[in-house]
């Protein structure tokens, strides 16, 4: 679910073009936007405090053939939340799980990992390499 929460609706839809058709579903709740209160820790590692809210969209669906899917994703993208809920339900079907993991979840996870790695490399390029008087002379 974390992978689908980090992807945009457009990215999920683009991957679904390479996947087997999803089973028909109907909406049980939502998609609807709301808030989650984000907590931090006092001093970074102490007791909790309320930092501030973030927008979150949730959706619950039921597959016509049976099976529930739930999604909570950061932001206000209703389509993303519905696709994530539908995929959550479909990924629980043994017949579809493998194909959907390979066509949708794994490629999105790889894209996200690549973006994370790029950011980490940019951060690494700004790491300070201190030199001492000794190696200044060398």
């Amino acid at each position: 679910m974390g992978v689908l929460a980090r992807a945009t609706a457009g990215q999920i839809a683009a991957r679904l073009e390479h996947a087997p058709a999803l089973p028909p579903h109907r909406r049980l709740r939502g998609p609807e936007a709301g808030l989650v209160m984000v907590r931090g820790r006092q001093g970074g590692d102490g007791g909790p405090f309320n930092l501030g809210e973030m927008t979150v969209t949730r959706c619950s669906v039921r597959l016509e053939e049976g099976g529930l899917g739930h999604a909570y994703v950061a932001g206000r993208d209703l389509r993303q939340a519905e696709l994530a809920a539908l995929l959550d339900a479909a990924l629980q079907l043994p017949a579809l799980r493998g194909a959907l993991m390979a066509a949708v979840v794994e490629p999105l996870a790889a894209m996200q990992a690549a973006a994370v790695a790029t950011l980490a490399r940019k951060a690494a390029a700004t790491k300070v390499e201190f030199f001492t008087m000794a190696n200044m002379r060398s």
């Binding site: 808030l35 989650v36 405090f49 930092l51 739930h70 490399r121």
Partner: protein, 354 residues
Amino acid sequence: MYVAVKGGERAIGNAHAWLDETRRGDPALPELSVQQVEQQLGLAVDRVMAEGSCHDRGLAALAVKQAKGDLIEAAFLLRAYRTTLARFGTSEPVETGAMRIQRRISATYKDLPGGQVLGPTFDYTHRLLDFALAAEREAVPPAAEAEADPTPMPRVTELLAREGLMRREPADTTEPPDLTREPMRFPTSRAGWLQALARGDEGFLLGLGYSTQRGYGNSHPFAGEIRMGEVTVEFTPPELGFAIELGEITVTECQMVNQFAGSKSEPPQFTRGYGLVFGHGERKAMAMALVDRGLRAEELGEPAEAPAQSQEFVLYHCDNVEATGFVEHLKLPHYVDFQSELEKIRTLRKGGGA
């Protein structure tokens, strides 16, 4: 007392139409998109999310555009919008120790595990206006990359705590107060004031933090560590019963390290002031950490005489939406109040002359 005054509708309507026209500016120029605000005025967006106390870059960018760049007005718009949304629940506390670091610096240790990572910073720029930005530019070359260092980055406060030189945070598991649900009561807990400071006005907290450095509170701080990057937000939906990831948010954290003389029960050691804000908001996180430490004076048995050490002074005045409301209400008609004052002055002067 305020009196209902009719007859202003036409003037108000025309004033708002003019506001809309001035917001758009010269129609010969392309209109600014919300996406451009979000991407290219990112620190304004971050400040509005922090002080609006609502993490949503798109909404904050829209608020900045609608407010014509007035960031306090934009925070007000965001606070008003959040009241229209239902709350699904509360996240697990974010683990800033596991942050994916974009920036991490320490002013107390030169060589610390993971090193000093500058990130996208204004520090060390010369603060000379860059006229190249005023001209059409070719595509900006991508920033340099280097092999990422997998060394974990422990907190500076943890390094000191392991040596017994830093006071550990008490393992407080009580449900923190939420000032969006119940009005703040004094004295409030540290959890209560950290929420208020996290959404407090950057300028007000900066001034107060500065006052503690200049002697009004006597806090001798060091910037133990500042880190900025992404943290994962986890939430347990009641229908699932286990935590799922909602996504990632960028936050800035500051740990100030301060002296503490010790007490009857505790040896002399360092204590910390803590700042945590949505987005990339380093000045705000540092100011928040200074003021947090100021407010801990009583807990640590120090004299609490300075403004930054007074809960009521700091917490009643740090919210710019509340402050704006009370200052700007002075613009509302006070015709009857003023008439009564006029009468009083006239009467007094007649009496004095007799």
